[in-house]
């Protein structure tokens, strides 16, 4: 009886993981297809579609755009999020709880709503559709995330460390730069990498707010309109690989923080 339960639980686990990962596995597998259709039978492995992706200037420039938008918007989001977290953690503000709630609220609002709102706003303000507009959109969605991560790690035990620095003659900006930022570095990096991941994958806001030069997810969508082929699989696999790297970096920085 016990053995049956054991086998059943293993089967269940297997089924769950298959359910989650099978789409990705299929995507990656057929990106290595040697023939022109990403359907069984598997004819690879071959790297010809990766070669096709990398020689497609539209895709490569979209890839560069995506990286630019992701890194710059994440940098902005993490900087602003850190300053918010520091302000809330170190100063007594009227309605602090309410304000903190408001700042994290965008986490619960759908990207579509945020994207539409920004579209209307930028239209009204005369900001053209561009990578800059999409980047601002990504700051809007990632700032609350960075704030939440950094704020959660900003404990009271650092207050005396900052006081000590002030006591030894450090002006406020040096306290922040030489003490608070290095001490908070793991949380700051974690926020940065998670923002990168979300920005890198983000489609709706980029789709709504860019026109000619656009990000990789939007370019992939353009590609998909002409039907599935192993090239879309290949570029999808690349996106997935970068995401994995970013998530691993995020986990590593957060884990290191726990050990310390």
């Amino acid at each position: 009886m016990r053995k049956v339960v054991r086998i059943a639980s293993w089967l269940y686990a297997l089924a769950v993981y298959a359910f989650i990962f099978l789409p990705v596995v299929v995507l990656v597998l057929f990106s290595l297809q040697a023939t022109s259709f990403p359907i069984p039978p598997f004819t690879g492995p071959s790297l010809r579609w990766y070669d096709a992706v990398l020689s497609d200037t539209r895709l490569t420039s979209a890839l560069v755009n995506s990286l630019l938008v992701a890194s710059i918007s994440s940098l902005a989001a993490v900087t602003l999020g850190f300053l918010c977290a520091w302000g809330f953690a170190r100063f007594v503000l009227p309605g602090s709880g309410l304000l903190r709630g408001l700042i994290t609220l965008p986490l619960t609002v759908s990207y579509l709503i945020i994207g539409m709102g920004l579209l209307v706003l930028f239209n009204w303000a005369g900001v053209p559709k561009s990578l800059l507009a999409a980047g601002i959109g990504h700051v809007v969605i990632n700032l609350p995330l960075c704030f939440a991560i950094i704020y959660s790690q900003m404990g009271n035990h650092q207050i005396n460390i900052e006081r000590a620095a002030r006591d030894l003659g450090a002006p406020e900006w040096k306290v922040l730069l030489l003490i608070t930022v290095p001490v908070m570095a793991p949380a700051i990096f974690a926020g940065f990498f998670l923002s990168m991941t979300f920005s890198w994958d983000e489609f709706v806001i980029s789709f709504l707010l860019t026109r000619f030069g656009t990000t990789l997810p939007v370019e992939i969508w353009n590609l998909l309109r002409s039907g599935l082929n192993p090239k879309t699989n290949a570029v999808g696999s690349l996106v997935f690989a970068v995401s994995i790297v970013l998530v691993v970096l995020f986990e590593l920085t957060l884990l290191r923080r726990r050990k310390a």
Binding site: I161, R163, A164, L168, G169, A170
Partner: protein, 354 residues
């Protein structure tokens, strides 16, 4: 008479509705070791924070070297603080920690390193220069914090329960070292503690605080032998407290009626005044009444062996609300349940103003 290094003038402080300091005035002499002694909630830590510039008092002023520092920020006043949790910078080496204050003053790297090494040598940690704080023990971190605060040569060094986190043996050892370091550098130290043994061992000037006020201040010997108030008689060491009324004054001697009989005291006191007397444990005599003043008889309730002496608790037969605390030699043969005569010498009775 030189001007005091620190002059605290009529400081009061409130946190919301709660008054933590009530019209406190205190003067600190250059080169002195001052201890602020009191139970938690007595306002001693708040007073230290006011001196360090972390708290601006609701009322009153703080002068350091004659300058009004009341609302000068910590960075700009000639004080440094050794925090209770040491507050070392975890991402910097010990050497960079100690050199931080000099770095803020714009001192160049080589001078900084040399001075930091000297400061570490002063606290006996010359070898730790390249280590990280987490590689050090609690006692070593304490020394680093001390070196870091001393290296910029403050006028006053503030120590917030610096030995609180150390175990007893290490605490006594660090206590001796703190005193030695203070004598060597000659900086005025102001040290907050609730440990009266620490206070007696370290202080040149002992300030006993309770409920936001200074109860008593002076050299520790004076505070111990002649405490000014009932609080300092019971907080700085233990005392047997005896309440009474003055019945007669004659030839500069007053007689006080107490529950255990009349007690004669030197000095003329107004007849009819209620007074409080204190007797230190080592001055009580149990057994045959050798002392000059008879204090009735008492039933011994507890005898605690403490190594070099025995601490004896006894309840007066004449007044069961009166508890005697006595310190007897380790060889004493009293046992719980014994009934003994209690006495002491006239000149060992302390008259409290309270």
């Amino acid at each position: 008479m030189t001007a005091p290094l620190v002059d605290i003038s009529s400081i009061s402080h409130r946190f919301g509705q709660h008054t933590v300091l009530k019209d406190v005035s205190l003067q600190i002499e250059p080169g002195s070791y001052t201890i602020l002694l009191g139970p938690s909630g007595s306002g001693k830590t708040t007073l230290l924070s006011i001196l360090g510039g972390f708290v601006t008092p609701s009322e009153g002023k703080v002068f350091i070297r004659g300058e009004d520092c009341t609302s000068v920020p910590p960075a700009k006043r000639p004080t440094t603080t050794v925090f209770q949790d040491y507050a070392l910078f975890p991402h910097m080496s010990v050497g960079s920690n100690v050199g931080f204050g000099l770095r803020m003053q714009g001192v160049d790297g080589a001078t900084r390193a040399a001075k930091a090494r000297d400061a570490l040598a002063l606290v006996g940690l010359a070898a730790a220069f390249d280590k990280k704080p987490h590689q050090l023990s609690g006692g070593q971190r304490q020394r680093v914090a001390l070196a870091r605060a001393l290296v910029i040569e403050p006028a006053v060094l503030l120590l917030d329960e610096p030995l609180g986190a150390l175990d007893l043996k290490l605490r006594r050892q660090m206590q001796d070292e703190l005193k030695a370091i203070q004598k060597r550098v000659g900086t005025a130290f102001i040290h907050v503690t609730h440990d009266q043994e620490e206070a007696m061992a370290l202080a040149d000037h002992c300030v006993v605080m309770n409920d936001g006020r200074i109860e008593d201040e002076g050299p520790p010997e004076r505070v111990y032998h002649r405490p000014a108030t009932r609080f300092s008689a019971t907080f700085m060491g233990e005392s047997t407290i005896l309440a009474g009324t003055v019945t007669e004054t004659k030839d500069r001697t007053s007689t006080v009626a107490t529950p255990v009989g009349p007690v004669s005291l030197p000095g003329a006191l107004p007849v009819g005044a209620a007074v409080v007397l204190a007797i230190r444990p080592e001055h009580l005599v149990l057994g045959e009444a050798r002392g000059g003043v008879r204090l009735g008889t008492a039933g011994v309730s507890d005898v605690v062996f403490q190594g070099s002496f025995k601490r004896v608790l006894a309840v007066s037969v004449e007044d069961p609300s009166l508890h005697f605390i006595a310190r007897l030699p380790a060889t004493a043969t009293v046992r719980p349940g014994d009934t003994v005569a209690v006495s002491c010498d006239t000149d060992q009775i302390i008259l409290l103003t309270d």
